[in-house]
Structure formats: structure tokens, C-alpha cells
């Protein structure tokens, strides 16, 4: 399934400032990049870094005073791993790939050690497996209100569990935190999301079950088969769209995600979907 995605960011810069952008799509077996373009205006030099572990791609630049426009476009061919949800089991710690352990540990916004009591009380008695993570997503969807402006960059899963309001980032943090408190490795994923309304960068999460990372989205705002991976990390701290050192205003941000292929998605409701 082919998608064309893009982001258009415009900043006003008061003093020379360093940016680290994470807006480019990840390149791997599930996401083949057919075409891609990154344009800066003014045309300034930048560093690029791709992280081996998770394929995250970062661009660093120092912007001079004035306007900075960042335009990124890519055409991506997505493929997924699909499987009957019922067949997917949780993996005991003794059998987890050791590379997944970093996603078991608590992180800044997913303090799983502090969510343990709540998780024991709400989810411990549920049948282990894909269905338990699905139940976590249902709990979040039912109990937490999606409310623009209800949280900020310091809001963590611990607070969201109490405030019962947040945005996609908070929903993802809560999902990650709850899974880790059950010893299920979980990680934060930023994506371009087809059919998201209004368009924006979206945040979802992955849980390691069976032998791979499955996609989950407690917001239900867009179909999972339309997610194009941008960043993978322990939580939002790792995959900020833009980490900025300096005095800067974001003027506009426009995101688009179009489906290029004519075919329709063929994911059944009883199938789990993986993009890794």
C-alpha cells in the first residue's frame, strides 16, 4: 500500500538556534521509501543521523535569524505483518529478546514503576496475551477524554491516569506505562497517520508480544494500517518532532497523508497488525 506523506513547518527565529528534526519516515523492510525530498528555506547545511537500533532519522541544523521553512515529502510503500489476534501470547521475561528490555524500564513519561498499583488493580486478572493489551486500550479510550490543550510537554502517564484527559501523546504514554507495569515491553511511536482528522503528527504505541512489536492506538482516531513510522523511542522525549535550542516560534505546521494505491485495506478486525 503506497502513501504520500509530508510536513511543512515554518518557524520565526529570534536568534541563531539549533534544531533537531525527527520528521523523516523510517526506512526498513516494512517501509520502502520510493521517493523522498527534504527542502529547507533558506538552504542551510544540516547533519543527518540514523539510529541503528530503531531507524530513527534526525536532521540537525543551525538556523539564522529570520524565517525557517522545512518541507518534507516522501512516497512510501508500506507492508504489514498480519495475524489472528487470538494466537498472540505474552512472552515471559526469561524468553524476551534482551534487546527489548530497555522498553520494560520506566522512562520520563511512562513511569511504569509508579503505575504498578493501578495496573495490578485494573488489569492483573485479565487473560494474558494480545487481548490484555487490547483491554488496556479500551480502558484508556473509555476512561480518558481526548481533549486538545488538556496536557503539556511535562505531562506524564502518571498524571494522565488521574486527569483522565489528554492528547494522542498522553494516550500512548499511558498504554506504554501500563504494558511495562505488566512486564510487557512497550514503546512510543510517532507516525504520519492516514485519515487522521485534523491532520497532525500522531503518537501511538507498540507492545512486544509473540515474536514481534504490534501496533496499538488507544485514541481510535485513525486506522492502524495507515500509520507510517517516523520515530520509535522509550517515550516522547526520544522522538520529538523538533528539539530546539534557542528562541523560536512555530508559525505553521501542515501535515498531509494521501493514499496513492487504489486498493483498499484488507485488515480484518480480528487481526493484529505489525509494522516491525
Amino acid at each position: 500500500m503506497k502513501y504520500k506523506v509530508g510536513s511543512d513547518l515554518v518557524y520565526t527565529i529570534d536568534q541563531p538556534s539549533t534544531f533537531i528534526f525527527n520528521v523523516q519516515v523510517v526506512r526498513n523492510d516494512f517501509q520502502k521509501i520510493i521517493a523522498e525530498e527534504l527542502q529547507l528555506d533558506p538552504q542551510i547545511d544540516f547533519d543527518e543521523l540514523t539510529i541503528d537500533d530503531n531507524g530513527n532519522r534526525y536532521v540537525r541544523l543551525v538556523a539564522p535569524v529570520g524565517k525557517l521553512k522545512v518541507n518534507y515529502q516522501a512516497t512510501v510503500d508500506l507492508s504489514h505483518f498480519l495475524i489472528d489476534r487470538k494466537t498472540i501470547a505474552e512472552v515471559p521475561p526469561a524468553e524476551l529478546p534482551m534487546e527489548t528490555f530497555q522498553y520494560l524500564y520506566p522512562s520520563r513519561y511512562c513511569q511504569s514503576d509508579m503505575l504498578f498499583g493501578l495496573v495490578q488493580s485494573e488489569f492483573n486478572d485479565l487473560e494474558p496475551g494480545y487481548s490484555r493489551v487490547a483491554a488496556i486500550c479500551d480502558w484508556i479510550y473509555d476512561k480518558v477524554t481526548y481533549l486538545s490543550g488538556s496536557s503539556d510537554s511535562q505531562t506524564s502517564a502518571y498524571e494522565t491516569a488521574m486527569q483522565r484527559a489528554g492528547v494522542c501523546r498522553d494516550f500512548a504514554h499511558l498504554g506504554v506505562g501500563f504494558c511495562r507495569a505488566l512486564n510487557i515491553p512497550a514503546r512510543f511511536v510517532s507516525v504520519y497517520a492516514y485519515q487522521l482528522e485534523p491532520q497532525d503528527f500522531h503518537a501511538v504505541f507498540e507492545a512486544y508480544l509473540g515474536d514481534r512489536w504490534y501496533l496499538f492506538d488507544a485514541t481510535r482516531l485513525a486506522p492502524k494500517e495507515g500509520f507510517i513510522r517516523v520515530g520509535t523511542g522509550r517515550d516522547a522525549a526520544d522522538v520529538s518532532v523538533a528539539t530546539i535550542f534557542g528562541s523560536v516560534n512555530l508559525e505553521t505546521m501542515n501535515i498531509f497523508v494521501d493514499r496513492v494505491s487504489e486498493e483498499k485495506s484488507s485488515v480484518n478486525t480480528d487481526e493484529a497488525i505489525a509494522l516491525a
Copy 2:
């Protein structure tokens, strides 16, 4: 119904230290004190203060180095206000006695302003009235584990809502905080409790409904008709058994509560009970 209650506290004191005790039972129309005795060993002078608002009784003394024994005993004749729970309504803020407003505001251990999201999500749709506060108690009983040592003097309702473990003090703070977040005045009450096992000072709460303060105890550890009021406050900060300024060790604390009357309690399960 007559009860004989008492407490026996023994401290070791390393340097002259000031104590403020709140162990004496409140004297009012619902609690007639038939006999009472407070003994100190050594026999040192003390100040006494009774707070007009709520009848709390405090004893202040400066203890010299060595051992301090505090022995308190009282015989109390309790009477209650009983009424069918179904008849008890919540009171809109416009009609609340203005004296109750201090029990609507957030306090150190009952941060109702921070519990608002949780309370909206869990209790807002319930039918208002006594039954809603009863449902809050059920929620606490079902979701929070009574676990000795799981909390400390800094633990607040906000933390208990997440940890899902606590002792009577934490259960009471949670009940108070939840009520206040629904605009129901609620206050913390320390009591001697008949049939509490093991014996100790107990903490429960009162909510203002209809035209008075009704007793609630989310721990279900002892019958409400056997509570003898010691202290009433916004939260545990107001009614500590002993506030101590100095270097002191509590060696032993023994509490007893005996029923003196032969009659049996006659509270029906569908009756609400008030001690004020």
C-alpha cells in the same frame, strides 16, 4: 449505647520535647462523657484547648528527658441519628450551610482539585445522594488494598488513588477527596472504634448530605455505630494523635474499646448513621 475507651501511650524522650495530643473524646449531644481520666507519668503540667468549631480537644505539654506515659480513659454514652439512606439527597452549593465550605476546599492530603478528572470519569454519572457516597466507598474498598506499611505520613489521596494500597487514614483521605471533587463537603474523623481488629486509632470520614454529616468508612473494618469521635478536621494534618516537636520514640501504644451496655446495636443495613 455506652462504651468504655482508652489509650495508653509510652514514649522515650531524648531531649525535652513538646507534645500536642488529640486522644480525648469529643463532648457533645451525641457523645455524653460519663467519666473521664487523663493520667501522665511523670505528672507534668499541661495546657488544654477545645476548638469551638468541632469540639476537638488538645493537650499540650513539655516532657522532660526520660519516659512519658499517657493514660486516657473515658466512659461515653453514644447516641446516633438514623435515617433511611434513600431519603438523603446531596445539597447544591447554593444551599449548603456556609460553615461547611471549608470542607469543600482541597487540603494537604485531600487534593480534590487534582482528583477531579478521576472523579468525573468514575462517579459523575451516578445518581446523586447518599448512594453515590456509598458507591465511592465501594470503589475504594474494591480497588484499594488495605496494607499495613504501604503508606507513610506524606501519602495523600492523589498517591493512594494510584498506588491502590493504604491504611485507614488513606482510605479516609480518598473518600474525602472524592466527595469534595463532587462538591460534597467531606471531613476526616479520627475515632475509637469498637470491634476494630487489631485495636488502634481508626480514621473514617463524614460527608455532608441532607442536613447533616453522615459517617462513612471505606475500610469496612468495624461497625459505624461503634465509632467514638476523637477529632474532626480537613484531613489527618488537623487531628494527629500526637504532634511532636523534639526527639522522641513511641515505645508502645495500646487502645481499648469495650461496650458497657448490654443492649445490641439496632442499626438496619438500609439506614445511614450520623454522629453529629
Copy 3:
């Protein structure tokens, strides 16, 4: 010294809403009210309550849909207790009036129990007395930036100590919390403040030293001899300008404080000032 003070509040009300206002000046030996007027538009009925303990005056009303204008004006004759700061000692807990103890306990926004470590580290070695509370004010003034919009209604002293930014309410909470952690009773005071720029309700604090409550203001935004007391409480929870139950917007709020007397203030810089 005579002052004329007033507040003008205009709200838009979406549904019938209950208000509790605390805008009237306290009437006592230090504040004689020469003239006073409270006007509501529309002219609706209201309840009035004066709290015995601290003289706080509350007005409760139910406002219908539409606009609500609240206009309050008073002419007040202020007198102060002045004394050389050097003569003012801290009072050991054994000698404090027992009525002051409620202001030693931690409260929602002044969690003195959680400030103990910081206070020990920063202020414990200072000479006890008025000068230590003055040093606390200097510390706050030096280390905390007064920044409009840097805090909200949930911000407490604990957070302000870390954020190092706040408004007058946060400066007062910090002062109160620090004093209590040193066993100095301290309370939150809302005032009309002469020469405050821009005009607004102001928040300051009082510490109990020697034999009375002395005024402190870590913001240094206005002279202490021009404070006219509106509310006294454990913290801002007790003396909110308006506690509102309903759906309401504050359209405008105008405060004025004029000096009526011709005389100039005669407080020396080495004098402490008390308004109680």
C-alpha cells in the same frame, strides 16, 4: 491612614451558577470600615457569612444566565502595630497560642512536611527571629522570578520551589510553607494593596512571631503599610476571590486602591508591621 478600595467584577454566565465571593475588607480594630457598599447587577439576593476566627467575609449568590456585575467599595481607616524588628523572637511550640497551631500544619498549597529538607538545608542555621523570616523573603525574592502566567490554580509551594517562577500567590505559599517547616505559624493573606502595579488582588503572608502576626511580602511589589486585609487562611484555597460552581467567564476585573489621608506613611525600614 485612610484608604478607599474597590473591586469591579463582570462575569458572563452560561447557566445559573453559584458564586462565593471574598472581596470585602475585614472589619476589626486595625481596620475600621468608615463606609462600604456592595452592588450587584442584576440585584439578586445573597447570603453573607463572617467567620469568627479570622473575620473573613463571604457573599454567596446564585446568578441567573446573562451578565453579573459585582461592584464593591469601601473606605477603611487602617492602623498598625509597629515595632523594632530586632526585638521580635520566634516562639517555641510550647508557648505558642494553641489557636495558631492550625497554621503550623501542612495545607494543600503549603506542604510544609515536604519542604522540610530544603528548609533545613537553606534556613536552619540562620539566627531565629524576625530576621529569619525576612531572610526567607529575601531568598524567595532572589531565587524566584515573578512571572505572570507561570503558574496556575494547582501550583503549590513544592512546585514553585523547583520552578523558581510564580506570581504573588506562589510567593506567599512559599513563604508560608518555609515558615511552617521551621515551626513558625504562617498564614496566607489576600489584600487590596496600595501602589500595586498593575492593580489586582494581592497575596502576602503573615508569620506568628513574638506575640502577634507580622506581615511579609516576598514580592516587594507594594509597601506593606498599604495592605488592606480581605481574607486570611491556611492558603489560597480558603480565600479565593470567587469560588464558582457553574459555567462562567470572567469578563473584566478592576481593582482600585487610593489613599484618602494626606499624611505620609511613617514606617521605618527597621520596623516590623502587623495588621492583627
Copy 4:
């Protein structure tokens, strides 16, 4: 300089439990392992993992019910990079190696985003460079009391900054958090420490300055030239001595660190020391 180090851990296991140990020393150009031995009793199978990024070595095993003894010993030849502290500058974000950015982001126990206000107030005006990180260590040493038992596994830098008490792990978290809030990459390092009294695993931190990671230890409990690296991570979550899934008691833990070489250390007090 050669050291012989070792750890002896004895657990009682109530039910089959999974352990992940991080007790082995890192092998790199600065730490040559001359001899090494890991013994388990009972002799059970284990997995080993070495993380490419930082050389952390993990051992995973499933222990049966009963006793588990883990004995590790290694002889290590340490070499350091030494340089005059005055020559070491901070690196602007535009010039930092991109691999260091993960150590700029806030983590579970080092919430640098929440330490920003404190850091601005206390350290922003200091001259940038090695000396500023040294000043951070002095601040921590002066203001925070090293107190066994004053913190637990959930204590973070944010709390330690207020409690002003902690153990080596807390001192390291605070150092890391403060540096990151100044845009200095910083990471948590667990070590065997020569001359530490009493012997234990020790926690220190590294800050990225000039062109490498320099060692810092705000506790001053042992000389930096005697640190042998075990684990490197964002904070303690990454390098726990033992992550345990199951019901287990630690019976005894003994650590030893002996110097094998006869030579004496030759680090001057004005030299910075790097082990990476």
C-alpha cells in the same frame, strides 16, 4: 593501574524467578579485562548480552526455588584520559555528536525538563565549562545530605532536590538532571569503587564536555581514578545490579575492590579524568 574486583550475591528464591544481572565490568580500551570469572550455584544456564552502544553486559537466568549464589571476579587494567580541567569547554548543541543527544533528554529519574527553573536560578550565571559541572557537584555535596535509607527505588532527582537527602544513586541522578537542564549531555554510571567505605556498588555520573565523557562524583566518597565501569545508562533504570521477575530475597551482597598494582595514582587535583 590494575584492580581486582568482585561481587558475591546470595538470594533465597520462593518461586522460579528470572534475573537480569549487570555486575560484570565493561570491556573496552580503557578497561582491559585480564581475567574474569562468573560462577553460579546451582550451575544453571544463562544468556549473555553486551550492548554495542555502551558495552553494558547483562546476564539473564531463571533460578529455581532455593538458594542462588552469584560470584563474579575480574582483574582489570584501567587507563584514563587526563587533562587540565581549565581546558575543557561545554559543547554547543550544534556541535555535539548526535549520539550524545539521548543523554540530553529527560529520563525517569532525571527529569531535566522539571529541573530547568532550579538550574537557571542556581547555575545559569556560572562560567560554562568543566568548572560549571564541578560547581554542580559542589552544590550537591553542600546541600544534600548523604543518608542511607533516605530514598527508595522510586526516588528521582526532582524529589532529591527538595528532600536534600539521598544515597549515591540520588546524587548521580541530580548531577545528571542538572547537567541536562543546561544542555550538557550526562549519563549515569555504575561502578566498582576502590576505597569506598563501606564497600558496595557505587553510582556516579559522566558529563560530555570538550570531546569526551568526564567522570564526576558529587558524593566524594571514593577517588574517581579507582572507578571500574559496570554499567552506563540514562539513569538507574538502565543499569540495575539485578532486575528480578519473581519472589526473591537478597540475603547477602559483598563487594570487594583491591588494587593489584603497586604504583600510586598520579592524578592531579586540577586534572579531569575520563574513562571513555
